[in-house]
């Protein structure tokens, strides 16, 4: 198969899956098979594309001309390759997990769930492979709209309200700011193609570049840079597989991926560095990192805590991009991969706690390690990776981000990274520790101090766990795979690193 064909199919297959899934809706087993087959094909296709990109090629597929002089086309460069690789690999894991989760949880409208999930993945692939800003924007909006039914899946008053926040912020920022930035760029330069070295150099003065950068960075609401982060905690009402794949990997990473891509290929690293308009955004990102970490500490609902943790981690990536140094960019790109594995593991575990032990609040999870040792262990592994401790992949990305701050000569930002890591330790590690070493009796009675951001129905005081009671096997497999991924990435980070090196030194 040619690489070009593989690129087109990689975007088309999930969409085809979205059509087939409802057709197979009557028989759940067939329906899940369709999802799994699509996911497997997608991973295969991405593996076909990878060698070409790793060898230094930038395969390109022209689709059609949408507006005069402005076409929709795909172009796979290393950064997009990383993103596509992660998303397609984790789709398989999530699909396996979903099967266990959705059935154990007796969710309604599962067909709709799987169909929109597939569309979201297709859109993610489109974002990863987009050859210009227009193409990216199209899939960006498709991703927003296709995830709305997933967020509001439960159809309750809470879910509806969360859906409104979700859609309001994501569409608001993308139409109000991002689209404006795109059209402005187009008016200034007459092109929107992702070009090495950027397209704005020499076309705009410093002030314009500064405003544009702000429009892009805040306009990409999916990157959840404060103050446009509220949608992410709101999205936690969705079923856990959605939170795991979309709101720890696909959607949020699509956001930061776009930011990085814009910095590299629209502005150009050197150009941006010379102008120096990104400096204040470094501090916005730093503030987001710290504030979100602090908020995470106050959240008792596990998913809400993870959501704020994600907001904080996303700003690592933005920070790396805004440093506009080679090492910073490498750190950003690697963090997209590393954080994805760590955070998806954590979310999988959160979902497993919920379906197996019916626990959503952290304060109820003392001693949970006795009933669910595997899940709690995986949670520990994921936590280490997110914090950035060896022997987990998260170490490498933090390493390069730290080097990036040094390269830029910003010791203060290095300090922020360090403090934030400590905060990560403080809000993540107690969960597995208490799970293993505390006794369940110490659990306080469930009170109504729910987290406001994300209330998920079930908090009934379930019977004290007696003996081992793990999540369904399908869930455990997925958890095992992703937590193993965290380990593997520690020992073999090279593919990701090499790709990122190609990005900064083409």
């Amino acid at each position: 198969m040619t690489v070009e064909l593989a690129i087109i199919l990689a975007v088309a297959v999930p969409f085809a899956g979205a059509v087939l899934i409802p057709l197979a809706g009557a028989t759940p087993n067939l329906r899940e098979t369709v999802t799994l087959v699509c996911a497997a094909i997608l991973l295969y296709l991405v593996s076909v594309i990878y060698p070409a990109v790793a060898a230094g090629g930038v395969p390109e597929v022209y689709l059609f001309e949408m507006l005069p002089g402005l076409s929709v086309f795909f172009l796979v460069e290393p950064l997009g390759m990383i993103f596509a690789g992660i998303a397609s690999f984790l789709w398989i894991a999530t699909s396996v997990y979903s099967i266990g989760y959705m059935r154990a949880h007796n969710e309604e409208n599962q067909t709709r769930f799987y169909a929109y999930f597939a569309i979201a993945l297709g859109a993610t692939m489109g974002i990863a492979f987009a050859g210009n800003m227009l193409t990216l924007f199209i899939f960006y909006e498709v991703l927003t709209l296709s995830t709305f039914p997933l967020v509001a899946h439960a159809g309750t008053e809470d879910a509806k309200r969360a859906g409104r926040v979700y859609l309001g912020i994501l569409l608001g920022t993308s139409i109000g700011l991002l689209l404006l930035a795109i059209i402005w760029t187009w008016t200034l330069t007459g092109t929107l193609d992702f070009t090495d070295g950027g397209i704005l150099a020499g076309k705009a003065d410093g002030l314009t570049v500064g405003i544009l950068l702000a429009l892009y960075t805040f306009g990409i609401g999916k990157a959840a840079l404060m103050p446009f982060h509220r949608w992410l905690p709101a999205a936690m009402v969705a079923p856990t597989p959605v939170s795991a794949l979309l709101h720890a990997v696909a959607v949020v990473k699509a956001g930061v991926f776009t930011v990085v891509k814009v910095v590299i290929y629209i502005f150009g690293i050197d150009f941006l560095f010379d102008i120096g308009v990104s400096e204040w955004l470094q501090y916005v990102a730093a503030a987001t990192i710290l504030i979100a970490s602090l908020v995470a500490m106050t959240r008792d609902n596990l998913k809400a805590r993870l959501a704020y943790s994600t907001i904080s981690q996303l700003s690592y990536i933005i920070l790396g991009a805004m440093l506009v140094t080679d090492l910073g960019i490498i750190g950003s790109g690697m963090h997209i991969a590393m954080h994805a594995f760590g955070k998806i593991t954590l979310f999988f575990c959160a979902g497993a706690f919920m379906i197996a032990a019916h626990k959503t609040e952290i304060s109820q999870m003392r001693g949970i390690g006795r009933a669910m040792p595997l899940t709690t262990l995986a949670f520990f592994i994921g936590s280490l990776s997110v914090i950035g401790l060896p022997p987990m992949g998260g170490l490498w990305s933090k390493w390069y981000l730290a080097l990036g701050t040094l390269e830029a000569g910003k010791l203060g930002l290095l300090g922020v990274l360090m403090v934030s890591s400590l905060l990560n330790v403080a809000y993540l590690l107690p969960i597995p520790f208490r799970g293993f070493f505390s006794s369940p009796q110490e659990n306080p009675p469930p009170e109504s101090s729910h987290d406001h951001d994300s209330e998920h129905g079930h908090t009934h005081d379930h019977d004290r766990p007696k003996g081992i009671k793990e999540a369904p096997v399908a869930c455990l497999i997925a958890i095992g795979v992703t937590s193993a991924g965290c380990l593997v990435l520690f020992f073999f980070p090279d593919p990701v690193y090499e790709l990122m090196r190609m990005v900064v030194a083409p």
């Binding site: 059609f64 001309e65 949408m66 507006l67 005069p68 227009l134 924007f137 199209i138 909006e141 498709v142 709209l145 509001a152 159809g155 509806k160 409104r164 859609l167 309001g168 569409l171 608001g172 139409i175 109000g176 689209l179 404006l180 059209i183 402005w184 187009w186 008016t187």
Partner: protein
């Protein structure tokens, strides 16, 4: 050669077919006549557009009376495109109308509907095709009078008062227009647009011409429902029969916008009306007020048809905004939006027709669970709603893109903000409907899935499909729009 007579046939066919419907009286027969005539008109319009595209302006002296004494039809890219829009919408509306009209209009009045529709069509095509300002008035009145009648055919008794109020305001508008024409004639002694364009610059400084321009602006502003002259529109669209609303919303105001463009850019083309005074600024402010104000009002509507009517007023604001920029990009944005809005709003109002057909009401509370009961119709509504919001791959996105670009080129930041805010407001009013339709359970005792007949669903999806087709590949419509805009800016022929 019959092809040489196409400009005349374009108007005359529909005009002659109207009385035929009166004679036939049988609903189905009248429908068949109207449908066939519309389709033939579409074919003529397409062939005219093709000819203009290849060989340039077509001049057709009516009855061989040479201009400027006789009435001359002048077809360039702008009005050829308008002819296509009007006949295209008509061609899709007609198949839709059969079932819809049978459900909403008493049987003994149905033939009247088709008769009036044909007159309306003839009027709209006449406005678009003529090169004579007085002839334009006559066609304007033909289309207006027939639309008053069509609106009054609505089931709700409020349709009568809506028609009456529209009649009063419409007549005032048309009379204002004719006063303006009279003043121009006083100063120039001609009614031919091209002739006017060459003579007007010499007398442009006279107060008469300035007053004439004022009258023309207000008169046409009433017709195209320019804020704050839009008061007739919401009730008229809400209470008219669905098929009428679809046709009027998609074509009526669009043709008035065209007339506006024609007067300002062709007739007054040699006069730098826009450079003197503050007309562009006034228009831009009114447009922005319409875009934001009408969108806000739309959010609070409980009748979905009315909601869409207010959204139309906002969309007309987009078009006027594009005009007010007086740049090729802005004008092209307006012209392409004429087409884009026609297909998307036509589709949305058709969805309303389908719901009225099945549910009998388009009050928002009747939409509960409609996502399950009428999945095909509601999917079309959502798809059309995306276009209204301006989601990429829809025609709404294309229009918005060019209007924003034009405003950026001009440095009109407030206009940019108005466009973007207005699209965000569109998100809200569309989403109110979506939430009710998809997140509330159907009321008890309601039937299972029950859709409108295929004869209504197919036209609905043709328009919705078109609003995606021309959103994905907008090169064709944009090419036409840019050539049209350049023609309007070009030297008067």
């Amino acid at each position: 050669m019959i092809a040489a007579q196409y400009p005349a046939l374009q108007v005359v066919l529909a005009l002659l077919a109207a009385p035929v419907c009166l004679i036939l009286r049988r609903p189905r027969a009248a429908w068949a006549v109207a449908t066939v005539i519309t389709w033939i008109s579409l074919a003529i319009a397409l062939s005219l557009l093709g000819r203009v595209w290849e060989t340039g302006v077509i001049l057709y002296p009516m009855g061989d009376w040479a201009a400027p004494w006789g009435i001359e039809y002048q077809i360039d890219t702008v009005n050829a495109f308008m002819l296509v829009i009007v006949t295209l919408i008509g061609s899709v509306v007609m198949p839709f109308a059969r079932a819809s009209v049978e459900a909403e209009i008493e049987e003994e009045r149905i033939y009247l509907f088709y008769c009036m529709y044909l007159l309306n069509l003839a009027g709209l095509l006449g406005i678009a095709i003529t090169g004579d300002v007085f002839n334009l008035f006559v066609f304007l009145e033909i289309s207006s009078l027939s639309s008053y009648v069509m609106i009054s055919l609505g089931r709700d008794q409020r349709a009568l008062t809506a028609a009456y109020r529209y009649l009063v305001m419409g007549t005032i508008g048309a009379t204002f227009y004719i006063i303006g024409v009279g003043m121009m004639y006083m100063m120039t002694g001609t009614l031919n647009m091209a002739d006017l364009a060459t003579i007007l610059p010499a007398v442009a400084d006279s107060r008469t011409i300035q007053v004439a321009l004022g009258f023309l602006t207000v008169g046409l502003g009433l017709k195209l429902a320019l804020f704050p002259l839009h008061l007739w529109l919401p009730n008229a669209y809400t209470y008219a029969p669905s098929a009428v609303t679809v046709f009027l919303a998609a074509t009526g105001t669009k043709v008035a916008v065209y007339a506006f463009i024609r007067i300002f850019f062709t007739v007054f083309g040699g006069v730098e009306v826009f450079n003197a005074g503050f007309i562009p600024e006034i228009l831009a402010v009114l447009a922005a007020l319409a875009m934001i104000g009408a969108s806000v009002v739309a959010i609070y509507q409980t009748d979905v048809k009315r909601l869409l009517a207010y959204s139309s007023i906002a969309q007309i604001g987009y078009m006027v905004l594009g005009i007010s920029m007086v740049t090729v990009t802005g004008l092209a944005g307006t012209i392409v939006h004429l087409f884009n809005h026609a297909i998307m709003k036509g589709g949305l109002f058709m969805a309303m027709g389908c719901i009225l057909f099945k549910i009998g009401s388009v009050q928002l509370d009747q939409f509960e669970g409609l996502g399950k009961r009428m999945p095909v119709t509601m999917a079309a509504f959502v798809a059309g709603g995306f276009s209204l919001i301006g989601v990429p791959l829809t025609v709404g996105f294309v229009s918005k893109w060019y209007l924003v670009q034009a405003a950026l080129e001009k440095g009109w930041w407030l206009a940019v903000a108005a466009i973007l805010v207005s699209s965000l407001l569109a998100v809200i009013y569309i989403w109110r409907v979506v939430e009710v339709a998809y997140f509330r359970p159907p009321p008890k005792g309601s039937a299972e899935v029950s859709e409108a007949p295929l004869s209504m669903l197919v036209p609905l999806w043709i328009l919705i499909g078109a609003s995606y087709y021309f959103g994905i590949d907008a090169t064709r419509t944009l090419d036409i729009a840019f050539v049209a805009a350049e023609t309007l800016f070009g030297p008067p022929q």
